[in-house]
């Protein structure tokens, strides 16, 4: 048990609001739509930041995910996300697995690590390709939805357990 009373808390990199991560209006983009109606509070090394809800967040260019694969993508923000009117977020690609292997329980999907300790995980998404390939930053998420599955997650911190099915 982690007793926050036993010692004074210092630092901490966590997201304090549900981000409402979703596909953006423009192609190849994401958006945040926090249920609180205002945006996301998150902290990095104990310093708190706020990101006002925004549409059309450009997605990080990453390697291709082949057809019939599943993969987790971690979405993070840093201290300058609000000021960065183009990107605002960073995406890290996890280890892709054949969807059949994930479903059968042969391999779980592990959450990737943030790219740096100065990046706060605020969410993620899972791509299951089925008849398409996916390249983050190039392929429109709508194309995956049409032939495959996109699942969004909002995170306080990176989950301890991988996704097993």
């Amino acid at each position: 048990m982690y007793n926050l009373d036993s010692e004074m808390v210092r630092g901490g990199t966590v997201c304090l609001s549900k981000a409402g991560l979703a596909e953006g209006t423009n192609a190849n983009t994401l958006k945040t739509a926090a249920p609180n109606g205002a945006g996301i509070d998150y902290c990095i090394d104990g310093i708190m930041y706020h990101f006002t809800d925004r549409d059309n967040l450009v997605m990080t260019a990453l390697a291709i995910q082949p057809d019939a694969y599943s993969c987790l993508y971690l979405v993070t923000m840093n201290a300058t996300s609000l000021a960065d009117t183009v990107n605002g977020l960073t995406i890290v690609k996890g280890t892709q697995r054949l969807t059949a292997d994930v479903i059968s329980g042969r391999y779980p999907l592990h959450w990737p690590q943030p790219s740096a300790v100065t990046e706060c995980p605020i969410g993620g998404f899972r791509i299951d390709t089925d008849g398409v390939t996916f390249t983050c930053g190039t392929t429109d998420l709508a194309a995956v939805v049409a032939a495959g599955t996109v699942t969004y997650y909002d995170l306080f911190a990176v989950p301890t357990a991988p996704i097993t099915s």
Binding site: G11, P35, A157, V158, P159, T160
Partner: protein, 159 residues
């Protein structure tokens, strides 16, 4: 002493991130949230964040065994990943023992994969028992104290 949360990357986490402002429902045997942020409660379970809106309104509490007269008891309030509310009845103690310092009120344990968001302390008077799920949360024969949580307090409630 300090605990440095930056020395390792946090993983997982189950805690409430908004003040839920638990209060009696429009139907008095139920409860509701009235978060001061005006919209609802953000909470995390195993690292994933969820949200329930105040507009859900009245929420049914878990039916529990009767709490006898002249006792004190804590009812823990939790949410699961689907936003379903549940209450967990703690161990009732004689209020006289509690106020005398003989017995403390321990916070109940939540069920697995649920997030504690608050609690209610119920103190029954003479000739008046209380049954969660049946009786009103403003029952004239009892006293009610409402708590909102980030996490379950470390210490029990002492006299």
């Amino acid at each position: 002493m300090t605990m440095n949360m930056s020395s390792e990357m946090p993983r997982g986490g189950t805690l409430c991130l908004s003040h839920p402002e638990l209060t009696i429902g429009g139907t008095a045997s139920k409860i509701k949230t009235a978060a001061p942020n005006g919209l609802g409660v953000d909470y995390a379970i195993n690292g994933y964040i969820y949200n329930v809106l105040d507009t859900v309104g009245d929420r049914t509490v878990t039916a529990a065994a009767v709490q006898a007269e002249l006792t004190s008891c804590i009812y823990l309030v939790t949410l699961n990943t689907a936003g379903t509310l549940a209450t967990v009845k703690g161990t009732a103690v004689l209020t006289a023992d509690h106020t005398a310092g003989k017995k403390s009120l321990q916070w109940p344990q939540p069920a697995a994969n649920t997030c504690p968001i608050g609690a209610i302390k119920v103190v029954t008077a003479a000739d008046n028992d209380f049954t969660a799920g049946t009786d009103d949360w403003d029952d004239a024969g009892s006293a009610f104290t409402w708590y909102d949580f980030m996490a379950i307090p470390t210490e029990p409630i002492t006299a």
